[in-house]
Structures are given as structure tokens and as C-alpha cells.
Symmetry: C2
Subunit: 697 residues, 2 copies
């Protein structure tokens, strides 16, 4: 449990200082200024007193109730200090000190040793190299930042300490309440996953927001995020998009998958709302913190001017949000309340000369309409507009309706007081309509996530032993790359259908085999000596009947013997000709954070030129597989154009799930392409024509 | 000349009122409060005095120096009043009054009559149904809005009066200076094009910004915008994206072209910077108004924290902006000025404990680097950060460098004074790095526009007479849709190469023709009685030699006679088989605002499913045609993949220009598809296989 970080009885500041400007001073001062109700114990061998409080020479001298230690001491002193803390029964420590992994070399070694020792001791550590932790509710400010945000219900974690300071400054300036601030620092012992888990079960937190640059254990992150996002919104800014993995990739999938695509997939699969910027992070956070969740995607816009209404409707059109259709009774109610030139349909235009009573009447009318899930109160400062009274009207209408309300009051000079009024009513405010719509879209996405219940991955029968043996054999031979035949055999063991291919030795055998497989078939010479089969007349394609097979068998035999009299011939393979399907590509590459990353795309130029592919982190169930297939831009080609039958969706879904199962069973698979998978029309299945597979080195 | 709207000697307010709350009162009051230095003449038959000024009973009684009239009277009174104005020698009038086109019916009739009369009188009118006009420099506030923005160099026009009020309020609150405000209203006599022209030649305006919902004469708009954007930045928000033309389209081009795509094309072709939101409009406007244009696309980011630096670099990656590569001397200079743990490469990280001197040293060093075209001063409020001093450092560094500087100081509580300091230095400020990058990207786009000099459209020889005759003939027959043969003939007259097609009557003739055209050829029965040629055995494709042609001729003849003994047979056509190219589609549809809108895309599913097409407004020259071709996502397929030869770019460019010329010569063409145009490898030209053409009804 991480509660010890937030609700300590007594905090020891190891390295507390009397010298202003020092971090050890700031932390002690912040604890005092924040009016932390528990005990504060400065620890410093060189002082008897710090900021009027008794100072302890050493951790071992601390009173027994100390249960959280904040370390502001040189990096090398941290390990013995944490040992002393553990001996004292302190189970939680925040290591502010820098000079560890982030400086490389000796610092990295120090951190490694510290991590190992901390795990032995069973003590939980935040940091090192962090800003500290704030819990507004328990009045704990164990950071060296200036000030403390107001109490509220937004919990925030950040991999960047500087961003913490920026956000705290913003929160104070905008009077936005926070429950907890966690600066993760180097994430030596605790990471975002731990705090997502803690904030998810924290009754003081209603919305979790975070800033990360990367995650170490992606699968754990997803598991924790998936659980948390079922309980409360989890909004994350992930930066470092361009820092894609530098590993040279040998597969299509490896080339197309950047680390950012893995994050996008992982976020989507675990219900994380991704904010595209810090601005969006706040826009979203305020809406979720102050407003109820919408029941559906339909917004109604109430405006006092046409132009901004059009701008808002445009923004709606480009989003998942829908324009609500007002019911006839609502329109009648609006007609009664508004002047004849008003706009009675969404966007509802109360006209520029509207006073607050008319604005309020329109807000009330649309909020009462059952088809309206959210209301955007839009306004411009016209001659008769009193923004303060408008703001009060919006607040009252929102209170009565129980539906989410947003405001976009445009301008600046006439806004300061209205802003305060809107804030007091918990109405999220946006300077323009567009960010309001974008924010409501995030709420709609979250609503959809809560309403979704993707089916669990299915387990298909597979010959796991066979694959394990093949991998061992390849490794024994010092190979990481599997041959085409081997790769095909691996996916066949996991239930992929391959073209039938039977070795025959006589004409009669070949004809019988072809008849059994079904025409057309191909014949191919099988000889370890012959690399380029076609060049020696060793291949016949598209043979339509028994006569053609008989003739072809003889011709191949004669031709090969003529071109290559010394060749050892094992026989002639009869192979099923697969025709009449669409080529798709399934692939997998191992992402450094999230592990097996699955890819789906249409084959050929769609993948190579248009890069029209979708990604998911394995394992996936049937719903996720289908969503992945539907996500590509060229999906209409699979649904069928110009009267074609649709391609076999069930077969593609199953193929993706089988691939997912294979990659989950064998973490040693580094990259795998099934390319092409020939998908036939609905009900007719799919056949894997070729595959490539590389094992981790 | 529209100067009379901005620099009048004396303003008459027709409908001036003594009653507070009335528009006629607000306008008179605004003229007084704005301290308009010329004379103000209230006109109202019911008052002898308004706001302490002599009131005139009628326009005819006005003193002779009145040169601008502002009308705030009932709609029906406007026509006689403007006549009286004209008689008085007043050449400019602002009609504030509403109740015209925007209410439909009688109002629309009134406006039509007013427009005609105004044109006869030669008087220029802004409005009706508008907020009025402001010129901050001549202290003219002829609007009924509250307040007046500070003097500055941004000129603004808007189709929405409410947006004018919002922007004015914003400008006052943020202390952003404007030169002129024009509320266009119904655009009865003057439109955005007129004011773009006026602001372009206005020495008091450095940046033109505007909000429009549509334009009437798109070609004039483009002409004026193209000229203006060469002189100063022209930034426009266009809303009403979803109000696409409702006309049912029968061609591919018509289906894919929405009115928004026409605006996007027109803006691009005329150097208009399109802002995606009101927020961007301001972000862009401030940067262009206060900062010099960059010499190139390279930005350098100076930050006091890693996280925000990564966020900024991510935003750069997703834009046209490039990260500057600092030269070795710059890196050395930074190394000397910064502590050992600092980041010496772009983004330059001066580390959290930096005071303003270190921040300034880094800014100076990177600004002096010749590869750096723009500097983003990024910062978070850390313990040692003094934002006010940082702001001063940025201002000084900017002044010394002469390069564009942007700031993104994150936070809120510690910002108010720093904001003022940055503003006093003319440094555009953004709350986060992303909008700063987006804005710099707009500057880079504008720089590229200024540096570009697209070649003029070429004129190709064409048989214009032939086409004119065909159109007349079709019209005479009451047809708007041309048959395939006719459509092909039209484009052939404009120099499109078509497959050769010769009617033959005997086997010998057919063989001789095929030999001349070159093999392979196709044979097709020609008979007015036979619609489905293939069904009666009337088509043979891909005939490789003389024997095959002779055999085919006989077979077609026999088959047709057997199936359809009564058919009148004109002969058998020998047609060139065109093979070995890529199918593209060229098209044109007539946009209600901009006229002939050209389309280019790859044929088949690329157009139909992926909607991967590019648009331009005709006429276009070779550079614009090539840019259009390169714009589609699937362009790599035309450049050649997997070792293919590239498709013939010169032939595609010429085809687009020929299409452009055809549509410009014949405004009666409503829609035209050349589909497919088969483009062969470089140097081998392109052949139009089929075409469809519809004339305006």
C-alpha cells in the first residue's frame, strides 16, 4: 500500500537545512507552511534546531512515530540512510536527491545498488531525482516547489518534476483543485503503474491525470490502467513521440511500428484517454472533475450569435460528438420563449439582444430534452450581454439539469467576474467553442469505454510442443532467423491454414493427390540441389485436371533431368492453388515497453506505400481483433466494393487471435509476418501463403 | 477607393438617438467617446440636439463636409436616405440596420432593390446588418460595440458581427493592437475581397485577418488575396465546413468535392493562411504583427527543464518546422556558459536552477547561430526561476538578434507581471509549447509562399470551335449529358491522346489497320442496334498478330450475324490496346463560389474507397499541377515502387493543364471526369481511355 506516502503521522526530513535557498530548507518550510498536522522531524547532525523545531542528529535518534522519510542528502548517503529508516520501522521514503541514473555512470550504479537494497528491506521509495509529493487533503507538502494547489479531486503524477511545478503554478493561478501530486523522478522503486493503482482506489480522487515519457513494464501498466479506467477517468499526456526505437527492423511490422504506435494501441486497449497536449490534459481534467458523465454523444449548443454557432457545429462535425435533434415539444417551448427571428433548432440562437432570462429559458428548454446529453453555453459580448448574469444563468441551469454543461464565453475584457461565477458553479470554461467540443468528445469516448465489455481472448488448440522443439532446434544451430518452410510450419501448428502441399513420386500418385486436394493445383520439383525451380522447368502452375497433371509431371521430370542430370530428386510436390481472395498482412513485433505488438493491414502497396495499418498489444480477444481490422482506412475493400462479397471477417479475427496466442506463448519470438494471408469471401476462410519469423538474439 | 470609410472628415449618424440602449445612441456615443477628431452630425427629425450636438432633421440639411453616413433607421427608409446622401455628395455609407436578406422574403427584396440603386448612385456601402467600422488610428468608432481596441497593426474583417464584438473584447482585455475593424454584414455592396484589397495597400496594417462563412465571387477573391498575400500575411478562419453544397453530383469529382475542399484549394493557391480556429487566428496574428519573418524553417528551443523540451520537440516533428542543428562554435559557446549537466544540443536545457543570466547567455548563443531561424524560450517555474527576469532576458535577446522569438512560460500564478514584460517587448506568448510551434509553422508556410513563384498557366493549341459546336448541338437536342464518344471527342479536341480507333469493313482493311496501329489490338463490332457487344460475341481483345486479327474479324462477323441477324452492321472497329500504365483520374466540378474545381487522384479504389484526391481551382499552371499530383497520399505509386520506372509526370501535368484550359474556355461545363487516364512510364505519355461530361442545365 502506498497510503504511507500520503497520510503519514510524522515526517522526517533527512537533510533539513536552516539555509534559505537550499532544497532541505524549502521542504521543511513547505511542510510548515502547508500546516501539516502531524509531527515534522528535521534530521541533520550539524544543527540542534531547524526553523524552530528540534533537529535530530541521525535517523536512529528519531521518535518512534516517524513513518515517512524525505531524503535531501548526497546520493551516496542515501543507501545507509534508507537502511537506518528501515531499522526504525519507516516503510516509506521520498528520495529528492539527484545524481543517480539521470547522470549515468557512477550514478546509475548507485541507483542499481539502492534499488536492490530497497527491495530487500521492503521499503517503498518515490524518486530519486524528484520534486516530492503533495496531498492537499492531509495538508502534506513534501516538495520543494513554491506553493500548494487548492484542495480538489484531480490526482496527478508526472515523470517530469519541472512539469509538476508548471502545473502547480497553473493550478494555483486558476484556482483548480487537486487531491495529490506525485513527482515520479527516476521511478526506481515505484512507477506510474503503482500510483495509477493507488489513485484508482483513493476516495479523494475523482480524475487521474499524468505525464509520462515512457513505461518500463508495459503489460503491468496496461493491466493497472484497464482496472483504474473502469473506476475513474485516466488521462495521460505521453511525450517523446519521436524517440522511436532505434533497433533496425527486418520485418514489415517492425518497420511500421514505432514506440508511439505501441502507446496509442496500449492506451486505447486499456481505456486511457490520451491528451495531445498539456492544454488538453487540463481541459479534459476540469470537465471530468466538475461535471457528470454524459449519457450519450448528443450536444446542444445555445448561442447568442450565428457565427460562433457555426464554428461550434463545424467542430462537432469533425468529432465523435453528435448534434442533438431537439424534439417537437422542445422546439415549441423555445418558440414560446424566444423572439421570432431566433434559431429554434440546434444550434439554438437566442439572438444578440438576449438578456439573461431569455438565455436561461433556452438553456432550461434544451437541457430538459431527453435527446440532449450535454449543453454548450456559447456567447459573445454584445451590447445587451451581461456576462456576469449569463454566467449565473448557466450555473443555475446546470444545477437543475444534472447534465454536463460547458461554457465558451468569448472575449476577455468583460470576462473576469463571469469566470469566477462559472468556476463557483463548476462549469468548465473554454475561450472558444472548439476546445469545449474536443473535451466533450473525450467524455463521449470515456462513456463508450465504460459501456464496452470486450470479450476475453479465446484459447485455440495448438501444437505448442512442436513449436518449442523447432525453436530449440534453430537455437541449437545458432540461427535466429527461421526459414520460410519452418515459419509456415510454426503458424500451421497454431492452426493457420496453409496451401496443401504433398510430395509425390509417381504420375499416378500425383494425379490421385491432385484429385483429392481439388483442382487447380501446381506441381513443383523437390530437390535439395535445385534452388531456382522455374529456370529448369521444374514448376507448372494452375493445372486444371488429371490429364494436365499427368502431362505436367512427365514434362517436369524430363526437363529437370535434361537441365540437371546429376540432381538428387526427392519427388514432385502437388500444391493447392489458392485463388480468389484478398491479400492481408498480419504481423507482430516486440515493443520494448509493451512486448508483443500485433499489426494488421491490407497487403502489398497498402502496407508499403500508404502505411495503412492498425496495431494492438497482445493478447487480444475477438472484439479487439475486429476493431483492429475495421480501423484501417482501406477497410471498405474488405467489406466489399462494387457488389463484391465481403471478405471473411471471422477468419481474419481468428487468425489475429491465433497469432496473438502464438506470440504470447513464445516470448522469444521477436518478429513475425504472415504475409500474405489470403482472405476469401465470407464463410470461405483464409489461407496463409507465406510467413517470416525471427527469434530474439 | 474605400479610404472614405476609414478617414472621413465628418460623419453623419442617420437615426442618432438620445435614448440609452438604442443602437442610434450607442453609435453616436462611441464616436464621441472614441474622440473622433472630425465633425459628428446627428440626423433625426424628432430631435434638435443629441448628446449635446446639433441634430439635423434630414440628410439634405447636413453641412457640406459630411462624407460618411452611418444609417441606423428602419430598412425601408434606407433607400431614400442613401439617395439623399448621394445627392449631398456623400460617397460612403455604413448601413447598420437589420431586416434585409438575413430575414428572407420582403427583406431580401428590399436588399436587392437597395443594391441596384446603390450601384446606380455610385455610392459604396458596408452592410446592411452589420456592427460598423473602426479605425483606431483616425479614432473612428462607427460601431455600436462596447469599447475600442488599442492602436496596432492588425486589420480585421468579419462576416459575423458577434465575432467582431468578441474579438474586440479580447483585444481590449489582452491589450492587442488593431488598425481597423470591419463588420461586413450582408456584403450587399462591399465584401471581404474589397477590404482585403484596401487593407493590403493600407500602410497602417501589417497583418490582415478575417472571419468568413463563404464568398460570392471566388475568382475575384483569389485574385485579390493572391496580390495581398504577396504584400502582407493574410490569415482567415473559414467556418461552415459542414454546409456543403446540396446539389446531387453525378460524377466522381462532384461527389468528392465539398465546398470546404474548394476553400482549402483556393486558400492554398492564393497564399491565404487558414487558421483552424479563432484561437489560431490570434496566435498567428500576434506573431506576424510583432515578430520579423524567419529566413528559414529551423527553430531552436531553449528550456529550463527536460520534459517540456521533449513536448516541444514532438510538436516540431509533427510540423513543417525543423529542429536547427547547432554549429560546433555555438555548442562550444553553450558549453562555456552552462553547467556540465546542461543539454548543449537542441533543445538546449539550461537546467532547473538557471537564473536569468544563464538563460540569457543560452538565448544569445543560439540566436547568433546562422542555422537558427527562430527561438522558442520555454520555461517552467522552478525554485530558482524568476519569470519577470526571464521575460526581460527574452526581450533583450530578441532585440539584439533580429530573429523571431516566441515564449512559452508555463504556469499561471507566477506569470502576470512576466506577461506584461513580454508584451512590452512584443514577444508572442503561448501557455504551452505546442501552439508556439504551430504558429511558427504558419510563419514558415508564409515564408515559403513569398519565396515561391508558380509559373503561369500555359496555353495549348486546341480546337475550341469544334467543342463549341458540339455543345451547341447537344443543347439543341435538349441534352446536358454528353455521350461517351462525344466526351472523348471533346477532350481530344483539347489535345488529350485517345486510343486509336478505326472503323474497318473488310478483313484486309482490318489487318492493314492493325499493322499500322501496332499490336496488340482489339476488335469491336460497330452497330447502332447492338448495345451489349460482348454478349453477342462482338468483342475480341488483345489480338497479337495479323492472323489473330483475320481470325477474329471472321469470328465476330459470324457470331453477330448468328445472334442478331437483323442488326445493321457498320463495320468492325480496330482499336489500340493500351497497356502498361497506371490509371489516374482527372476531374472537374463547378464550385458555387470558385467555379471550375479540378481534381486529381489515382484511379479505381484509391479514389472511390480511400478518397485520396487533390483539388485546385482552375486555371492552374505547371507548378500547381505538379504540386497537386504530389499531394495525394498514394503518390509514391506514381513515383514508382519496387524498382518500377516512374510514371510520366510531364504528361500528367500537361493533361491537368489542358483540362484546366478546357474548363476555363467553357464555363458551361458543369462536371467532367477523364477516367481513367492511363499514364505510362516517364517519357511515354498518357492515354485517356474514357470521359464523361455534363453541361450546366
Amino acid at each position: 500500500m502506498l497510503d504511507g506516502f500520503f497520510k503519514p503521522k510524522a515526517v522526517a526530513v533527512v537533510g533539513a537545512s536552516r539555509e534559505e535557498g537550499k532544497v532541505g530548507f524549502s521542504i521543511t518550510m513547505n511542510l510548515i507552511r502547508g500546516r501539516f498536522p502531524g509531527s515534522i522531524y528535521p534530521v541533520n547532525p550539524k544543527a540542534a534546531e531547524v526553523l524552530g523545531m528540534k533537529c535530530y542528529p541521525d535517523v536512529k535518534d528519531l521518535p518512534d512515530d516517524a513513518d515517512l522519510a524525505v531524503l535531501v542528502i548526497p546520493p551516496k548517503a542515501c543507501l545507509p540512510t534508507l537502511e537506518a529508516c528501515a531499522a526504525k520501522g519507516i516503510r516509506h521514503a521520498i528520495v529528492i536527491s539527484a545524481g543517480f541514473k539521470e547522470v549515468g555512470g557512477e550514478g546509475a550504479d548507485l541507483e542499481k545498488a539502492l534499488r536492490a537494497r530497497v527491495q530487500e528491506l521492503g521499503i517503498r521509495v518515490v524518486g530519486p531525482n524528484c520534486l516530492g509529493i503533495i496531498d492537499t487533503k492531509s495538508r502534506l507538502n513534501a516538495t520543494f516547489a513554491a506553493g500548494m494547489p487548492p484542495v480538489g479531486e484531480i490526482g496527478f503524477f508526472s515523470q517530469s518534476g519541472a512539469l509538476c511545478t508548471a502545473i502547480m503554478d497553473w493550478a494555483i493561478g486558476n484556482n483548480v483543485g487537486f487531491s495529490k501530486f506525485i513527482s515520479l523522478g527516476n521511478k526506481m522503486d515505484t512507477s506510474e503503474a503503482d500510483f495509477i493503482e493507488a489513485l484508482a482506489s483513493d476516495p479523494e480522487t475523482r480524475v487521474i491525470i499524468g505525464y509520462i515519457e515512457g513505461v518500463e513494464n508495459g503489460q503491468r501498466f496496461m493491466e493497472v490502467a484497464r482496472a483504474a479506467s473502469r473506476l475513474k477517468p485516466l488521462i495521460i499526456v505521453k511525450s517523446g513521440r519521436t524517440a522511436a526505437g532505434a533497433r533496425a527492423a527486418s520485418s514489415h511490422t517492425g518497420t511500421l511500428a514505432g514506440s508511439d504506435r505501441a502507446f496509442t494501441a496500449a492506451f486505447r486497449q486499456s481505456g486511457v484517454l490520451r491528451a495531445e497536449s498539456i492544454e488538453e490534459l487540463f481541459d479534459f481534467a476540469r470537465a471530468f472533475a466538475y461535471q457528470p458523465l454524459p449519457a450519450g454523444p448528443n450536444i446542444c449548443i445555445v448561442t447568442n450569435a450565428g457565427g460562433p454557432g457555426i464554428i461550434a457545429a463545424d467542430a462537432v462535425e469533425q468529432s465523435l460528438v453528435k448534434m442533438a435533434r431537439l424534439s417537437p415539444p422542445t422546439v415549441e417551448r423555445l418558440r414560446a420563449a424566444l423572439p421570432p427571428t431566433a434559431g429554434l433548432y440546434n444550434p439554438v440562437d437566442v439572438i444578440g439582444d438576449a438578456k439573461e432570462d431569455r438565455y436561461k429559458a433556452a438553456l432550461d428548454a434544451v437541457a430538459a430534452d431527453p435527446d440532449v446529453n450535454c449543453i454548450l453555453a456559447l456567447s459573445t459580448p454584445q451590447a445587451m450581454t451581461d456576462y456576469d448574469k449569463y454566467a449565473e444563468a448557466v450555473g443555475q441551469a446546470a444545477k437543475q439539469s444534472g447534465k454536463p454543461f460547458f461554457s465558451a464565453f468569448m472575449g476577455e475584457a468583460s470576462l473576469p467576474k463571469a469566470r469566477e461565477i462559472l468556476r463557483s458553479h463548476g462549469i468548465p470554461q473554454y475561450p472558444y467553442p472548439e476546445p469545449a467540443i474536443k473535451t466533450f468528445e473525450a467524455m463521449v469516448k470515456y462513456r463508450n469505454w465504460l459501456d464496452s465489455a470486450p470479450a476475453a481472448p479465446r484459447q485455440f488448440p495448438a501444437d505448442r510442443e512442436r513449436v518449442a522443439t523447432m525453436f530449440q532446434e534453430a537455437r541449437r544451430q545458432g540461427r535466429n532467423q527461421l526459414g520460410e518452410r519452418e515459419a509456415r510450419e510454426v503458424i500451421a501448428a497454431y492452426g493457420f491454414r496453409l496451401p496443401q502441399n504433398v510430395l509425390t513420386r509417381t504420375v499416378d500418385e500425383a494425379v490421385a493427390t491432385a484429385t483429392r486436394i481439388g483442382f487447380p493445383v501446381a506441381l513443383k520439383i523437390v530437390s535439395p540441389d535445385i534452388l531456382h525451380k522455374t529456370d529448369v522447368g521444374g514448376v507448372r502452375l494452375n493445372l486444371q485436371d488429371a490429364d494436365a497433371v499427368a502431362e505436367g509431371f512427365g514434362a517436369i521430370d524430363a526437363s529437370v533431368r535434361r537441365f540437371f542430370p546429376s540432381a538428387v530428386i526427392q519427388g514432385i510436390a502437388v500444391q493447392e492453388m489458392v485463388a480468389g481472395g484478398k491479400e492481408v498482412i498480419l504481423g507482430m513485433t516486440r515493443d520494448p515497453s509493451f512486448g508483443p505488438l500485433l499489426m494488421f493491414g491490407l497487403g502489398g502497396i497498402y502496407v508499403e506505400v500508404l502505411k495503412d495499418v492498425a496495431f494492438r498489444v497482445a493478447p487480444i480477444g475477438p472484439d479487439e481483433a475486429e476493431a483492429m481490422i475495421r480501423e484501417i482506412r482501406s477497410f471498405p475493400l474488405l467489406r466489399g466494393v462494387r457488389g463484391e462479397k465481403p471478405s471473411d471477417m471471422a477468419a481474419m479475427v481468428e487468425a489475429l487471435e491465433r497469432l496473438s496466442q502464438l506470440c504470447t506463448d513464445f516470448p522469444e519470438i521477436l518478429e513475425l509476418d504472415v504475409n500474405p494471408l489470403l482472405v476469401k469471401p465470407e464463410g470461405s476462410g483464409a489461407v496463409a501463403i507465406d510467413a517470416r519469423l525471427a527469434l530474439a538474439g
